[in-house]
């Protein structure tokens, strides 16, 4: 069985009076044929790696080998008390998401969620909302399970790969997952969680995947930050009762259609968009020639 729709889960949650996270835990127990404790502790392991990637990421000070990223999460955190416009919660979530992105590009250990390039959003959002609501680890794990339904449906119906459906399928999906997790942790219903994901995914449709020189740095890392903030906004909108006119399942179908229409130049090939700007090509040429020049040719031995 492949999950292609959120509707049966919403129905089940409403009939049984349970949250989305709870329903997904029961679902995982059923397919893995193991007890609740094992399921919770396995997700606990995932969470531990996420937390460590945040803690390491916000401390990074040096630039990456390409010189395109590094130290930005720390910069933002430092500035939050003096000159912040948006305030503490947004600044924290953005710097955490950027931090994980920077940690990933500096060979740190992360959780692909759903991919390595989009690995900052879910941890940053869950961490920040949990901190705000003083959530227990059990609630945090439920939030992560709630986010998984969103990712599973996107993956089955459309894609979670930038090379197939552009960045909407990576960062868009991660932010939609994060919005659902935020609602779950804040105590919202299954319907509100899925609705938050719909609002978020709608607002990432059509995003190009055009990384400079094929590296997971520009625009990926800062996009993790901006989209983490959007995920919180989407969650707040849903908790306030704002409904997405287009339901989640239909938004995913739209994402699939748009993904199929997108040209391959903006699907991770680094042939179009930001990668093909003067700046982008400059980095690419410099990196490729310096990479190749630093290696002796096999025939020179």
């Amino acid at each position: 069985m492949t999950i292609r729709s959120v509707e049966p889960f919403i129905l089940q949650a409403e009939t049984e009076g349970k949250s989305l996270g709870e329903i997904m835990i029961e679902h995982e127990m059923e397919i893995q044929e193991v007890g609740r404790e094992e399921i919770m502790s396995a997700m606990g392991k995932i969470w531990k790696v996420m937390v460590s990637s945040i803690n390491n990421g916000v401390k990074i000070e040096q630039r990456s080998p390409s010189g395109m990223s590094g130290g930005d999460a720390a910069k933002l955190l430092k500035n939050r008390k003096s000159k912040s416009i948006t305030g503490s919660t947004i600044i924290k979530v953005v710097s955490r998401a950027i931090g994980v992105g920077e940690f990933n590009s500096s060979m740190g250990t992360i959780v692909a969620s759903p991919t390595a390039g989009s690995s900052g959003v879910v941890p940053a959002v869950v961490y920040t909302v949990a901190e705000k609501f003083k959530a227990s680890e059990e609630t945090i794990v439920k939030g992560l399970f709630a986010s998984s339904l969103i990712g599973l449906v996107c993956d089955a119906v459309a894609s979670t790969s930038g090379s197939e459906h552009g960045c909407q399928a990576e960062i868009g999906v991660s932010a939609a997952m994060a919005a659902a997790a935020a609602v779950e942790i804040a105590g919202g219903t299954c319907k509100q969680a899925v609705n938050a994901a719909a609002l978020m995914l709608k607002n990432s449709l059509g995003l190009a995947c055009d990384p400079i020189a094929g590296l997971v740095e520009v625009p990926c890392i800062k996009r993790n930050g901006v989209m983490a903030a959007s995920a919180l906004v989407s969650a707040d909108m849903s908790l306030a009762g704002i409904e997405s006119v287009v339901p989640f399942d239909d938004v995913v179908i739209a994402m699939d259609e748009i993904g199929r229409m997108m040209p391959c130049e903006i699907k991770e090939t680094s042939e179009g968009g930001l990668a093909n700007t003067k700046t982008g090509r400059g980095y690419k040429n410099w990196l490729r020639s310096s990479g190749a020049n630093q290696l002796k040719d096999a025939s020179e031995d």
């Binding site: 069985m1 492949t2 999950i3 997904m24 679902h27 995982e28 397919i31 893995q32 193991v34 094992e38 396995a42 997700m43 392991k45 995932i46 790696v49 990456s64 080998p65 390409s66 940690f103 990933n104 590009s105 500096s106 060979m107 740190g108 250990t109 992360i110 959780v111 692909a112 969620s113 759903p114 991919t115 390595a116 390039g117 690995s119 879910v122 992560l144 986010s147 998984s148 990712g151 599973l152 993956d155 089955a156 979670t160 020189a213 094929g214 590296l215 997971v216 740095e217 990196l287 490729r288 310096s290 990479g291 190749a292 630093q294 290696l295 002796k296 040719d297 096999a298 020179e300 031995d301």
Partner: protein
């Protein structure tokens, strides 16, 4: 793991930044080490295609070194694998190479220099951390690591294959696939066999006793140790 598992979306735990240029490179290095059977002392790594150009930004050099030191894709030490190799006095040199159009743009050749036990592989990183071993010691192969794989080099005697499958059935193991290729003039063959279950400890010794057998290696599944349960 199951198509509908939450851990397919939240996972795997991996060392960044790229599944194909980092995680795949770790696995290729680790496969070379497993084939050699112990920590190598002198290694030359050849980067082909995209690896030769983008290795630095993706940390592919540290990734291969980490694999050669026996690390898995999520090991936090991959980041400092070059320093650890130096400390352990493992000499690893990098070169660029053109393997030819028949190879995937993300390919790596690894040569472990040891006159007593030369080891050489060419492997491709095909995406998402998946790899295919295309050559072992010059013999063409198609090993993916999706199953436990037995790698056997032996004299091309009549009946050797049936002796090999006989030993495998003694252990009650289920064969998923079997491929055997020989070099006619040298009368040597390379047989690779995928089995469904984990190989019992005595299997290697028993296979080594077959007449004409000169190399027996058992590669675990690529994802061994990454199970969530």
């Amino acid at each position: 793991m199951g198509d509908d598992s939450a851990f397919r979306i939240l996972g795997p735990i991996m060392t960044g930044p790229s599944s194909s240029h980092t995680a795949g490179a770790v696995r290729i290095g680790r496969t070379a080490r497993l084939l050699y059977g112990k920590e190598p002392k002198k290694v030359t790594v050849y980067f082909h295609g995209s690896f030769a150009e983008t290795w630095k930004g993706h940390g592919s050099d540290k990734a291969v070194i980490g694999g050669l030191l026996g690390f898995k894709t999520f090991d936090e030490r991959i980041k400092i694998a070059d320093q650890l190799a130096k400390k352990a006095e493992v000499d690893i040199q990098f070169r660029r190479i053109r393997l030819g159009a028949g190879y995937h743009p993300n390919s790596i050749k690894i040569v472990i220099e040891d006159p007593e036990q030369p080891t050489e592989i060419i492997a491709e990183s095909v995406g998402g951390g998946d790899i295919v071993i295309r050559k072992i010691l010059g013999f063409p192969t198609e090993i993916t690591g999706n199953e436990v794989t037995l790698i056997l080099r032996h004299k091309d005697f009549v009946g050797t294959l049936s002796k090999i499958t006989g030993v495998i059935s003694e252990f009650n193991l289920n064969i998923v696939s079997l491929s055997s290729k020989d070099i006619p003039r040298e009368e040597i063959a390379m047989t690779t066999i995928e089995i469904e279950e984990k190989a019992p400890a005595e299997l290697e010794a028993k296979l080594s006793k077959i007449k004409g057998m000169d190399l027996v290696r058992i590669l675990p599944k690529l994802t061994e140790g990454e199970e969530m349960f």
